[in-house]
Amino acid sequence: MSAARGRTLIVDDEEDMRILLRATIEAANDGLVVAGEAADGEEGLVRWREDRPDIVLLDNRMPRLSGLEVAERILAEAPDQTIVLFSAYLDDATRSTALELGVRECLSKSDFAKVPEVLRRCAADG
C-alpha cells in the first residue's frame, strides 16, 4: 500500500467538516494523506486539476456546483478518477445517480467513522 495512492482531496463547504475529515485522515495515518481542501465545487475542480489526487472525497450539498455535478465533470475528464461521495443526506435517487456517473463509493455522514476504512479500500483497489 503506497502513500502515493492515498492522496485525498477534500471538497466540502462546511469548515467543520473539512477540519474534521483532515484530522481523521491524518490521525488514521495509514498511508492516507490529505492532498488539499476546497470549500465549494468550483474550487474543488480547480484543485483537482492542479493536484490530481488519488481520491476525491466529495460533499454533495454545496452552493453553486453540487457534488454530483463536480463528479460528472471530473469523470468526463478522467473516467478512472476514484471519487467518494460523502453526504449528509443520501436518498436512493442520489445514490443511484452517483453510481451511474461512475462514483466509486457513497458514504453517509452518519457513517463518519468509516471514512478511513473506505479511503484505504479505495487506495488499495486504486
Binding site: 463547504d13 462546511e14 467543520d16 477540519i19 474534521l20 490521525a27 449528509a88 453517509s108 455522514k109 452518519s110
Partner: protein
C-alpha cells in the same frame, strides 16, 4: 314555424277574394236595386198615363153627348117659348163656357149654309143631314170650333131620324172652348194638373210620381178639328233620390275595405311572424353552434376570438369586447379582448346594462354571471337595432360564455392548486432533506470532534484541543436551535405555540437574549443600540425566540466579519426592535414568501446556508400572537433589515386610551 309561414299568405288571399266578392255584390246590388226601383216607377207611371189616355179617348163622345142633350133642351124650350138660350144654355153646358148664338136669330143670317169653305156651314149642313150635333173644324189658327145642334120646329120631340129631318127648325150654334173641354176631360184625377196651350198641345204633370226624365208623348187625340198631343212627364226623375242603392254600394265598399284592411294586417303579421321565426331559428343555430365551441377548449385565447367573430356575424355587431374587473386597478373594468372597429369611448359605468332592446349604433353592457357571481361583461356596439327576442338570444349566449369563463377559471384555479401542491410537496421534500442535512452535519461534527478529542487528547496540541471543543460547542448550539425550531414548528402546526404577554422591561430582555445567542454570531461583529427603559406588552420567551431566529438568520446570510446591528427604541406608541445585516438582503419578490413555512430563498446565499426554512414562519406566528408587527426591508448599507414593532400596552388598554383621547379631544 313552418305552419305559420305557410298559413300566412293563404289568409290574405281569402280576405282579398272576400273583399272582391263584396265589392262586386255591392255594385251589382246598387245597379239591381236602382233598376228595380226604376221599373216600379215606370210601371206606376205607365198605369197613370194609360188612365189619362182612356179619359182622352172618351172626350169626343162626352162632348157630343153633352151637345145632344143641349140640343134636346133647346128644342124643348122653343116649343114652350119660355127658353132664353143666352142664359139657359150657358147653365146647361156648364163648364163648356160657350159663346152661344141661335141660328136664325144671330147667326143664321151670317152663315150662308151653302158655302163649302166655311167650316161652320159645313158642320151645319152635316148636322141637318144627320139630325145629330156636330163640331165644326176651326176656321183658322186662334179661332174656336163651333158646336152645331140641329133644331126642331115642333114642340114634341121628333122620334127617329126622319122625323127630325122633317121638323127642322132654327139650329143652335155654340162656339166652344175646346182647350177647356180637353182639360176637363183629362183632369179627372186630383193628382193631375193639366195645362192647355193654344198651339194645341197639352202638358201634364204627375204630382208625387216618378218617371222618365224626359216627357213621354202618349198619343194624339183629334177633337174639334184639331190634333191634340198628350204629353206626360213625371214630377221627378226615376228613383233620383233613392237611398237604398247607395246604401248598398257604400256598405259593400266599407265591408270590402274592411276585408282588405284585415287581409293586409294579417299578411303583415304573418310576414313579421315569419321574419321573427327566421331570426329565432338563426339565433338558436348560433346558440347551438356556440355551446360546443365554448366547450372545445379551456384556453381563453383559443375560445374568445372565434366566439366574438361568430357573435359579430350573427348579430351584425360593430364591436364586441370582453371586460373583467381588475383587482390590481381598484376593481375597475379592464378590457382583455375585443373584435371590431374602435370608437365609443363612453365610460363603462355609463352604458345601459341589459337593455330590453337596442337602437342602431347604441353601445351597451351585457353582464356575464355564473352562479350569481359576476365573471365579467361584454361591451357591445350593434350596427342595427336589436329586438327584444334577439336580445334574449344574446343574453343566452352571454350565459354560455359566462359558463365557459367559469369553467376556464375553475380549470385555472385547479391548475394553480396542483402547482401549489407540487410546490408544497417540493418544499416538504426540501425540508426533509435540509433537516436531515442539518442534523447529520451538526451531529457528525459533534461526534467526530468528540471522538478525536477522546482518542487523541494527549497527542493533540492545546490550541487544537481548544479549537475542537469550540467547534463542538458551536455545533451543539446550532443543533439546539434546530431542535427548538422543530419543536416550535410542530406546536405551530397544532396551534399550540402559547404566549403569555405581560408588562416587560424589553430593554433588559433584549440585552439578555443578545448575550445568550452571542455564540451564533462569533464570526460577526454584533453592534448593540439598545435604548434603556423601553417597556412593552409582550412575552420574554417569545422575544427570545424571535430575536434568536432573526440574529441567526443575519449571521447565516451575511459574510463573516461583517456587522450585525441589533437596535431597540421607542417609536411613537410602539417599541421597535430592529435587526439589520450587511448581507445580500431579501429580494423584493421574496419579501412576502420568506415568512412561509419551508421557504428558503433561491439565492446562492440561501442555498449555501443551513436551516430548515421554518424560522421566519415561527417568528411571524409569534409576532401575530403578541399583537406585534413585522416588516422586512433594505438596511441603509444594502443588507436585510427586519423591523418588529411591539405594543406598549394590552389591546384593551390601548382601546380604552383611544377612547379617552377622543373624549379629551372631541371632534369639533
Amino acid at each position: 314555424m313552418t305552419d305559420t309561414a305557410a298559413g300566412g299568405p293563404r289568409l290574405p288571399i281569402l280576405a282579398g277574394v272576400l273583399a272582391a266578392v263584396l265589392l262586386l255584390a255591392s255594385i251589382a246590388g246598387f245597379f239591381g236595386t236602382r233598376q228595380s226601383l226604376r221599373d216600379d216607377d215606370e210601371r206606376s207611371f205607365r198605369t197613370r198615363a194609360d188612365v189619362i189616355g182612356h179619359r182622352v179617348d172618351l172626350l169626343t163622345n162626352d162632348v157630343l153627348a153633352a151637345a145632344a142633350r143641349t140640343g134636346d133642351a133647346v128644342r124643348y124650350a122653343r116649343g114652350t117659348g119660355a127658353f132664353d138660350p143666352r142664359t139657359d144654355l150657358a147653365a146647361l153646358t156648364g163648364p163648356l163656357r160657350a159663346t152661344v148664338g141661335v141660328a136664325g136669330a144671330e147667326l143664321e143670317a151670317a152663315y150662308p149654309t151653302e158655302d163649302p169653305s166655311d167650316p161652320v156651314a159645313v158642320a151645319l149642313l152635316a148636322a141637318r143631314a144627320t139630325a145629330r150635333p156636330r163640331l165644326s173644324a176651326p176656321a183658322g189658327p186662334g179661332t174656336r170650333p163651333v158646336l152645331v145642334v140641329p133644331g126642331y120646329r115642333d114642340r114634341a120631340a121628333p122620334r127617329g131620324v126622319d122625323a127630325r129631318l122633317a121638323g127642322g127648325g132654327p139650329d143652335l150654334l155654340v162656339q166652344i172652348d175646346a182647350g177647356a173641354i180637353v182639360e176637363r176631360a183629362v183632369t179627372g184625377a186630383p193628382t193631375i194638373r193639366v195645362g192647355v196651350s193654344d198651339a194645341g198641345t197639352t202638358f201634364s204633370q204627375f204630382a208625387g210620381v216618378r218617371g222618365p226624365s224626359s216627357p213621354v208623348v202618349m198619343r194624339d187625340v183629334e177633337f174639334a178639328g184639331r190634333v191634340w198631343t198628350l204629353t206626360i212627364r213625371p214630377r221627378s226623375a226615376f228613383a233620383r233620390d233613392a237611398v237604398l242603392p247607395w246604401f248598398i254600394l257604400f256598405g259593400g265598399l266599407v265591408l270590402s275595405a274592411g276585408a282588405i284592411a284585415a287581409a293586409l294586417v294579417v299578411r303583415r303579421t304573418a310576414q313579421q311572424l315569419t321574419a321573427s321565426a327566421r331570426e329565432r331559428e338563426q339565433d338558436l343555430r348560433v346558440i347551438a353552434e356556440t355551446g360546443p365551441l365554448l366547450q372545445q377548449s379551456l384556453e381563453l385565447a383559443e375560445v374568445l376570438p372565434e366566439f366574438a367573430v361568430r357573435l359579430s356575424d350573427a348579430f351584425e355587431l360593430e364591436r364586441i369586447a370582453l371586460l373583467v374587473r381588475s383587482a390590481a386597478a381598484g376593481n375597475a373594468w379592464r378590457e382583455i379582448f375585443s373584435v371590431g372597429t374602435a370608437g365609443g369611448r363612453r365610460p363603462v359605468d355609463d352604458l345601459p346594462v341589459n337593455p330590453p332592446t337596442v337602437m342602431p349604433a347604441e353601445e351597451f353592457l351585457l353582464p356575464l354571471q355564473r352562479s350569481g357571481r359576476g365573471v365579467g361583461a361584454l361591451r357591445i356596439r350593434s350596427r342595427g337595432a336589436i329586438s327584444a327576442s334577439r336580445m334574449s338570444a344574446l343574453v343566452a349566449l352571454g350565459d354560455l360564455l359566462a359558463a365557459a369563463l367559469g369553467n376556464i377559471q375553475l380549470y385555472a384555479d385547479e391548475q394553480e392548486t396542483v402547482r401549489r401542491l407540487q410546490e408544497v410537496d417540493q418544499l416538504k421534500n426540501d425540508f426533509v432533506s435540509t433537516v436531515s442535512h442539518e442534523l447529520r452535519t451538526t451531529t457528525t461534527a459533534i461526534a467526530g470532534f468528540g471522538e478525536l478529542l477522546e482518542k487523541q487528547w494527549d497527542t493533540l496540541p492545546d490550541a487544537t484541543r481548544r479549537d475542537f471543543l469550540g467547534r463542538v460547542t458551536r455545533n451543539a448550539g446550532t443543533l439546539r436551535l434546530l431542535v427548538d425550531d422543530m419543536l416550535d414548528f410542530s406546536r405551530l402546526d397544532r396551534l399550540k405555540l402559547a404566549v403569555a404577554p405581560d408588562h416587560v422591561d424589553l430593554s433588559s430582555t433584549v440585552a439578555a437574549v443578545a448575550d445568550q445567542v452571542a455564540s451564533l454570531l462569533d464570526r460577526h461583529h454584533l453592534q448593540r443600540e439598545i435604548q434603556g427603559g423601553v417597556d412593552a406588552w409582550t412575552d420574554p420567551r417569545a422575544v427570545e425566540r424571535i430575536l434568536a431566529n432573526l440574529l441567526s438568520n443575519a449571521a447565516k446570510f451575511s459574510p463573516d466579519g461583517t456587522t450585525v446591528t441589533l437596535a431597540l427604541q421607542r417609536v411613537g406608541g410602539r417599541a421597535r426592535l430592529t435587526v439589520s445585516d450587511q448581507g445580500p438582503g431579501v429580494p423584493a419578490a421574496d419579501r412576502e414568501r420568506i415568512f412561509a413555512r419551508f421557504f428558503r430563498g433561491d439565492s446562492a446565499a440561501a442555498r449555501s446556508t443551513r436551516g430548515a426554512g421554518v424560522g421566519l414562519a415561527i417568528v411571524l406566528d409569534l409576532v401575530e400572537r403578541l399583537g406585534a408587527t413585522i416588516e422586512v426591508g433594505d438596511a441603509p448599507g444594502g443588507g436585510a433589515r427586519f423591523v418588529v414593532d411591539f405594543p406598549l400596552e394590552p389591546p384593551a388598554a390601548a382601546a380604552a386610551r383611544d377612547v379617552s383621547e377622543e373624549l379629551r379631544d372631541p371632534i369639533p
